[in-house]
Symmetry: none
Subunit: 227 residues, 2 copies
DNA sequence: TCGTTCTGTAAACGCTCAGTTAACTATTGC
DNA sequence: GCAATAGTTAACTGAGCGTTTACAGAACGA
């Protein structure tokens, strides 16, 4: 998940809460001094600077960022409504700005837009379980860092199972939930697809899908179960 | 004094008054039809698009601007507060946006900022991915340092895909987002354009657009995927 | 106006995958 | 240990999907 630099410490409560709810990690920084100690290679997706303490301080901090003491990009400014006039546009310190109090959907949109433009889009939706990771946006599956080449139905079945780890599903349930509600096919279909999945997962991981005799199938084996 | 394109005709009263008081000249345009009759050499400083009539209409108009029927840049969107959710900013139709009702000082700041930045060539306009580079302003595409001669629709499709590397899009999604919101055409159209793109990219790079069977198409192949 | 290029449609083709069947193997209960 | 039941595996076929090519109309530029 993307990590954003947030200045100052403490930041406005509304900003922090909002960033949390949008799913970003946040690294708080206070004084410019502290900031210079940050390591660039930590890979910040961007920085959000708030003027809740002092507008001048924030601008100074932004200048130090722009001097590449910390190569962080993009930079979003959160500025108090009544301080807007202080924005000196000739000084290109910020990539965008937001008025405080913040409108949540606008804030969300502006961050997404900035991150996208700098090529740091929000981390994609990923289903992870043990050695398996499914990227729901790219339709890619990775097992043990090795890409799995799955067909459509294989992917759909695995996705469904992996989204409910540990839970046992009957063939009938799988047919209706993965294949579709009005699907009428033989229950053996499920078996065959499970078989194909297991084959592609290889000996090492084929037990990621377990057979529960007389009941159905379950995803996730004991060694990967947390609880 | 700078002249701005203002859409639609009539625009929201608040916007027109504000632009007047800020000292801009304004050229009103209504339908896309009228817009196509505008002469590029008139030298617009930028365009301001308001959603007071219909959000979709405005988006479509923006798209036609981006199709360089009018090479106008930058483009600022004025969008109704409650329509904010419709903004998919990643589409890059707009350089910035403002909520309506408008806060005068913010509006002023955003316009000045946009004009200032474009005046210094600061606006981002290159999309790069692996061996491919798209210049969004000049509509040039380069693959492996070799210029790609693309038609308009080819360019638009490639741009959209390249702006969302790795993500899979269904034909329907591509039709609505590349061709336009109310476009109703056969899904095969997408296939044919993909085919033409691949042909122009040559054997070496045709797999830059991957087919995801039963789902759609994806830009970017594994060897260029970072994560 | 004419010729060219671009765009979308249609149809034929070829290939992949989903689903069936059936033989085979494993597990359970007697 | 045997029979019954359940799951596995392999082979096969048809349908579905994507590719490719050809073509016609629209848009464009000379």
């Amino acid at each position: 998940m993307d990590t954003l630099l947030l200045y100052p410490d403490p930041p406005p409560e509304e900003v922090q809460k909002l960033l949390d709810s949008l799913g970003y990690n946040v690294k708080l920084v206070s004084a410019p001094l502290a900031a210079s100690r940050l390591e660039p290679e930590d890979g910040w997706a961007g920085a959000i600077l708030c003027t809740n303490v002092s507008v001048d301080d924030t601008f100074n901090f932004a200048r130090s960022l722009r001097k590449r003491e910390i190569p962080v990009h993009p930079v979003l400014l959160v500025i108090d409504q009544k301080e807007l006039v202080k924005l000196d546009l000739r000084e290109d310190l910020f990539d965008d700005f937001c008025k405080s109090p913040i409108d949540p959907s606008e804030f969300d949109a502006r961050i997404k837009r900035l991150l996208f433009r700098t090529g740091r889009g929000l981390s994609p939706k990923i289903v992870e379980y043990g050695p398996l990771a499914l990227n729901l946006e790219t339709y890619q599956a990775v097992l043990d860092t090795r890409p799995l080449d799955l067909t459509f139905m294989e992917y759909e079945l695995l996705k469904f199972l992996a989204c409910h780890p540990g839970k046992v599903f009957s063939r009938e349930t799988l047919l209706s939930r993965v294949w579709g509600y009005e699907y009428y096919g033989g229950a053996r279909t499920v078996d065959v697809h499970v078989r194909r999945l297991r084959a592609k997962m290889g000996e090492r991981h084929e037990q990621l899908i377990e057979t529960v005799r007389s009941v159905g199938y379950r995803f996730g084996q004991s060694r990967w179960m947390s609880s």
